[in-house]
């Protein structure tokens, strides 16, 4: 139960407290370092998880916070991946600058696309995101002289990070690099969602009808967050290109777009951590189960999806948060 406020100072404190770092968060990020020490054979998987988690965060910003349902966001992941891959093939393999350029590229395309996205809602919005995703896929397939088509991009080689850390066979550098980028982007996203802009996004999600009535240009807000989200997705794609030296059409696939939404719903939307937790659960489960039998994977994930939507619509983190709230 909240104590009533008696002064604006207390209001500010209350707001400040909501965005403070909890000990769980600090423990979580420290735990992210464990693969280096405890599970070095799993470093490549950890790398994949970090990349996917970054992608999931980018989608959480628009899906969880602004309420834009998208089934085509892999478009930006792929655009970033191909950009980073292609400039590396053409001779510029410096990771950080390449990554930033890939992110910027995806962000610019995202900003242009955002004008289309904000014109539609509901089913039309879902279909436009779906259609744009497929469009980009077909385009990449058609431009096989640039992208390698169904064979994928060949000849990517990434120079050492900061000139020092060469990408080793075990994946130490890869995971370290990916984790670093993930953490930085997480910090930026955290800042964003705890800002007035984040509040505006939540307002849009909560009641878009009220937004113009308080003088808000909500479409401008949506365009901005969509562009930022596209840039971050592009960074994730670029990371994949640089750390695995492979880029193929699957980086743009509908499966990737759908998987990330599933990860988000598993962990819980609108929490940032939900994106990360959902990714971990999904990828670890897939790694373990799909190896046994792909049928079981589809059955299991299908059942899990249905179960989560019916019984834990706020995802695992949301469910846990409810339990904690009830205990108070």
């Amino acid at each position: 139960m909240n104590k009533p406020l008696s002064a604006p100072i207390e209001a500010r404190d209350w707001l400040r407290r909501r965005s403070r770092w909890s000990p769980f968060e600090i423990a979580f990020w420290l735990a992210a370092l464990l693969p280096f020490i405890l599970f070095p054979t799993y470093l490549p998987l950890a790398n994949q998880i970090a990349i996917a988690a970054l992608f999931a965060i980018s989608v959480d910003l628009i899906l969880g916070y602004a309420g834009i349902v998208t089934l085509g966001h892999a478009m930006f992941f792929g655009l970033g991946a191909y950009f980073a891959g292609i400039i590396s093939v053409r001779g510029w393999g410096e990771p950080i600058s390449g990554l930033l350029m890939a992110g910027a590229f995806a962000g610019v395309i995202g900003y242009v696309v955002s004008f289309l996205i904000t014109r539609v809602q509901h089913l039309a919005l879902i279909m436009v995101t779906l259609g744009l995703g497929f469009l980009t896929y077909e385009l990449a397939n058609a431009l096989h002289w640039l992208t390698g088509g169904t064979d994928g991009l060949r000849g990517i080689s990434t120079w050492p990070v900061l000139g020092q850390f060469r990408f080793d066979m075990w994946g130490y550098t890869a995971y370290g690099y990916a984790l670093g980028v993930l953490f930085l982007c997480f910090l930026l996203s955290r800042r964003l969602v705890n800002s007035s802009f984040g509040l505006a996004l939540r307002g849009i999600r909560e009641n878009v009808k009220r937004m113009p009535a308080i003088g808000a240009d909500h479409k401008a807000h949506l365009r901005l967050v969509y562009a930022i989200s596209a840039a971050i997705a592009g960074l994730a794609g670029g990371l994949m290109a640089q750390t695995t030296n492979t880029v193929a059409l699957d980086s743009l696939s509908f499966e990737r777009s759908a998987d990330v939404v599933v990860m988000l719903i598993l962990g819980g939307t609108g929490r940032l951590y939900g994106a990360i937790v959902g990714t971990i659960i999904f990828l670890v489960a897939r790694d373990q189960l799909a190896g046994i039998n792909p049928q079981y994977w589809y059955f299991g994930i299908g059942l899990l999806l249905m179960g989560v939507v019916l019984f834990m619509p706020k995802g695992i983190l949301g469910f846990l948060a409810q339990i904690v709230d009830r205990r108070r």
Binding site: V69, L71, L139, V262, Y296
Partner: protein, 287 residues
């Protein structure tokens, strides 16, 4: 050249008629209840497997398998609607999308388990095989059959909507649900019946599709995109819209694959996005 165009138009229209049967149910139920059911393609898959099974295990003729596919799917849909979908009407788009996608996954896994991943084959009765030659062009008999069935169904639907009491109830529920309820209409029952009819049609479409498109556990996914395009481009709760959208997509798809195989799909998606940007409610959508 003309004969090529004629064949493409014919094959495309036949494919479009299949898509119409697979999509019209979704268009009407989406328009009525705003419930996004992405498992609708999987309903088609179920119909296909039912048809294959009754023909193979029970030795029934093809013409008997078709109505059975319809009935089986209609009945199953009532069960699904009662037990599962009903809880999600207020759940929001994202949840509906994800739940029904989960259902497709489960359906695909069950199909794989039961039938394996191999393509199912249907033995058509002899009078449906082969082709007919008109003005130097060979038109497939089976595809003609599909077109006839679909046109019959369309006529029945239009007649039913305009002339029967149930049809009037459906139209009322689509137009203004709250008012219809206020006037004493049992909207839930109307929706259940509409849903069953629509799902049954999907089952019928799936059964008819086995010969043309093939049937495997991934049918639900493959057809999903087509169905969604038909519904969103055609417009919700519109039989005309579904018909037009399906015909357009069917012809466009076949023509694209035939004349411009490299960029055929690309053009379709481009058109999809363009149409939706100009008319977000679809070509014949009202709300």
């Amino acid at each position: 050249m003309i004969s090529q165009i004629a064949i493409v138009l014919f094959d495309g229209f036949a494919f479009g008629m299949l898509l119409f049967l697979l999509s019209v149910g979704l268009s009407v139920t989406l328009g009525m209840m705003n419930f996004i059911n992405l498992a609708h393609g999987a309903f088609g898959m179920f119909g296909g497997y039912v048809a294959v099974t009754v023909m193979r295990q029970l030795g029934l003729p093809f013409l008997a398998a078709l109505p059975l596919a319809f009935i089986a799917m209609a009945l199953l849909s009532i069960v699904i609607e009662r037990t599962l979908f009903r809880r999600l009407y207020k759940a929001g788009e994202l949840n509906q999308v994800l739940f029904t996608i989960g259902l497709v996954f489960v359906a695909a896994a069950v199909a794989t388990f039961t039938f394996g991943t191999v393509q199912q084959v249907i033995i058509l009765p002899s009078w449906l095989r082969g082709s007919v030659e008109i003005a130097g062009v060979r038109f497939g008999v089976y595809r003609s059959f599909i077109i006839v069935v679909a046109l019959l169904v369309t006529a029945l639907l239009v007649f039913g909507l305009e002339r029967t009491r149930l049809g009037a109830q459906i139209r009322a529920a689509v137009d203004n649900q709250r008012m219809a309820q206020g006037l004493g209409l049992d909207v839930e029952k109307v929706f259940a019946i509409t849903f069953a009819l629509g799902s049954g049609l999907a089952g019928l479409g799936g059964a008819l599709a086995v010969e043309v498109v093939g049937l495997s556990p991934s049918f639900g996914f493959q057809m999903l995109v087509y169905v969604l395009i038909v519904v969103s481009v055609g417009g919700l709760a519109s039989i005309t819209g579904s018909f037009a959208g399906a015909a357009l997509l069917g012809i466009g798809d076949v023509a694209g694959k035939y004349f411009w195989p490299e960029i055929g799909s690309f053009l379709i998606y481009l058109l999809l996005v363009a149409i939706l940007l100009v008319r977000p409610l679809g070509l014949f959508g009202k709300r």
